[in-house]
Amino acid sequence: MKKYIFISLILLTACNKDIVEVNQTFPMLSATYSDSAAGKWKTILGFQPDTYPTNAPLPSNDAGFLQQLNDIAALQKNATPEDMANLRYWGTGGVLRWNEILRELVAKYNLPPVENADGTYPIPSANNPLAYPFFPFANPPYAARAYAYVSAAQYDALVTAYFWKSRWKRLPAYQLDNRIQPMLTDNGGNCYPSADAVIYGVTGTMLRLLFPGEVTYINQQLAKHRKARLLAGMETASDLDAGEALGNTIAQLYIQRARTDGAGAAVAIVNGVNLWKVFEDDCIARNEIPWMSMESPKRPPMLPFFGKVKPFLFDSATMVTTLRPLPPPSTRSIAFQKELEEVRYYSQNQTRERLRIVHFWADGVGTYTPPGHWNAIAAEEFVKLKWSEVRWARAFALLNMSLMDAAIVCWDAKYTYYNPRPSQVDNSIKTLTGLPNFPAYTSGHSTFSGAAAEILGYLVPSRKQAFSEMAAEASMSRLYGAIHYRSDCTAGLASGKKVGEFAVKRAMADGAGN
């Protein structure tokens, strides 16, 4: 009998297609420190939290407020299993979950448009996001910028919220009404304005701008987050409403910045005129081989003016003087030929282990991009650290500002030097992953990874060495994949590290400690 049970179990296991998803196993947020003084941390945009006031909360004996407590008690009494699952999903933390949602949207929208019948390529339009080509094409620079804006806005909004929280000192609902149970860990009491609502308020507004075709989905997630918080037994409807409103207010500051940061012009095509041709002409004038699209039909290079976007951690002038890497080996030099030879070697001598490395880090079309990959890596580390929401937001803001600024520095180098890809110079070189449609020097993956490893190594010192090794592997994966020369990788890693150092400098001075 036992034998049959055993056999049936094996058969059942064989048929079981369920997959353990890492992010479904994350623990509920339970902060070791509440960071209740975070209202004094430095905001990224440099404003004082009291610049954006909140209305005084309803007194706890107000009839309307008492009704809100009644509503929570009723909600808890009638909670369905789906409500509880939703509670546990959001209970891991709002910053974490919205970062995941953003990564998902990036992956969904990271698809280059198909060519038109005449061989030209359509450009996605924010005004018509649902008509093909869908807006946005969430390529790595676009994604890096989206991650940065969302995370930085979340951080500033939460610092503002924490300032007002410790001002108003609203007790959690379960302490005001003994019918109400705390269904999640109470991470710091002061419930007005709600930190979670600040997060969904600020993020919802940012995402509706960045992914205008996803407004319905974004609003659904927002409603679920709100419902989870009501059920949690801490914040009342008015606490949540105040948080959402404050989040919206801070989001507007970032939307203002986004409209004027230069990203809108990054495509470098105006009324069909290819403004990016200037880079090609410069390159030819220097007597070098200019980059050429290897796609068929030839696709305009990706976001040529992204190097002109306004960075978060330094100004554009600093970038040019201190962060722009020295030129790559001349395409006419012996050094270049040697580098090309090495790429040819990796193209022709594939091993399973190198293929694994190439594909582990590829993060190409249809993925959350390299910045998203570093966000996923960071999230898995952060869940172990039992941080408060505001510290989560700070960490992602520092990471994602580094990644966006790394994209800017890298794109500046790519178009300044306009260096050809190995396969362009030697068309016998086959690539082990998709060949990106922009110049080679420096490697984007390397720059992103250098920046990410540097700031993450500061935030999680025990993992500094591991991050550094991961960055080195990510960097080399592009050489193994035969899409980059070694100098693209080493120069990218080095300039990324410098970008990360700016973030570390900021982190040391923002008042948060560590």
Partner: protein, 316 residues
């Protein structure tokens, strides 16, 4: 006298088009090997497509050009009894794209072992009706790259195939129909997160099961088999390739093919068997519109004690 025919038709379910999965298909015909006969040999096949279905949209891609898959490998069939045959194959697969920069891949793909059992046979004058039950397993022989479609050499799942088949022969004319259910194991890829219709944070990919139907009719005698074949592969689930995206192993890959298949066993060179086939994909989803050609060379060894009288290649 055992009168069972050697099986040498190797169809190759060229799931090929996109995934490049090639599979022996002698388990889809109504022919059995006699007891103690072993038929072994080499099969080669090639497929090519320059259009594919992105979801249901048929398109070309100038960055791939034509995707060509070639396969070569040993294949054999063993007559355990006259009712039970065991069939194996182990293809070596090589892929390449004629345009763009993407590399091709190559390597040994999946070992498959199939038991084909004749459950029932009714002979009446000049007609024969047979029922078969067939079960097979296949498993990758190495951890090849699955997640670089369309140049991956296979999809990487372990498959359990269960098939029922009916065969009717009248003089030298026959019709055969079979239906299969293919249970597929999950696979593991080289990255830790991927997007299907949502983001999944795992390196494990759920592979939907599939069904396969095969219909064939034609002429067979002791020297020749000539038949027309149609088959349909349907994946029970999975998702469509989104616009201008890369294919993924758990896409809903469907295809319908028609083709011709022939075999020649010259009477004056007893034991030798030559096969050739041609197929064309006529409809599909998330797969290439492939043309497929196959050729095989086999020899039948006799391990029964009655040496000399041995090799009966006549169908009945």
């Amino acid at each position: 006298m055992t009168t069972h025919r050697l099986i040498v038709r190797i169809g190759a379910i060229l799931l090929g088009a996109i995934p490049g999965q090639l599979k022996a298909q002698t388990d889809a015909d109504g022919i059995m090997m006699g007891k103690n006969l072993f038929c072994g040999g080499i099969m080669t096949a090639t497929s090519s497509w320059n259009q594919y279905w992105e979801g249901t949209l048929l398109r070309s891609n100038a960055n791939l050009g034509s995707v060509k898959t070639t396969m070569i490998g040993p294949m054999g069939s063993w007559g355990v009894t006259k009712q039970l045959n065991l069939i194996f194959s182990l293809p070596y697969v090589q892929t390449r794209a004629t345009a763009g920069t993407l590399t091709g891949l190559n390597g040994f793909q999946d070992f498959s072992l199939t038991a084909k059992y004749r459950l029932y046979r009714l002979k009446k004058n000049i007609s024969t009706f047979s029922v078969f039950g067939i079960a097979g397993i296949s498993t990758p022989v190495q951890d090849y790259v699955k997640d670089l479609l369309p140049v991956s050499i296979g999809l990487g799942s372990r498959n359990l195939t269960m098939r029922a088949m009916l065969d009717y022969q009248y003089i030298n004319f026959f019709v055969t129909a079979s239906g299969s259910y293919i249970a597929r194991s999950n696979i593991f890829i080289d990255r830790t997160a991927y997007y299907t219709t949502r983001m999944i944070y795992s390196n494990e990919v759920a592979m939907p099961d599939a069904t396969y139907s095969n219909f064939r009719m034609g002429f067979r005698n002791k020297e020749i088999v000539a038949e027309a074949v149609a088959d349909v592969w349907t994946t029970l689930g999975g998702f469509d390739i989104t616009k201008n995206n890369m294919p993924f192993p758990s896409n809903q890959m469907n295809q319908t093919r028609i083709g011709i298949n022939g075999k020649y066993e010259p009477t004056r060179w007893k034991g030798i068997s030559l096969t050739a086939a041609f197929y064309q994909t006529i409809n599909g989803r998330n797969m290439g519109r492939a043309s497929f050609a196959q050729a095989g060379f086999f020899y039948i060894f006799n391990f029964s004690k009655k040496q000399g009288k041995t090799i009966s290649l006549s169908p009945r």
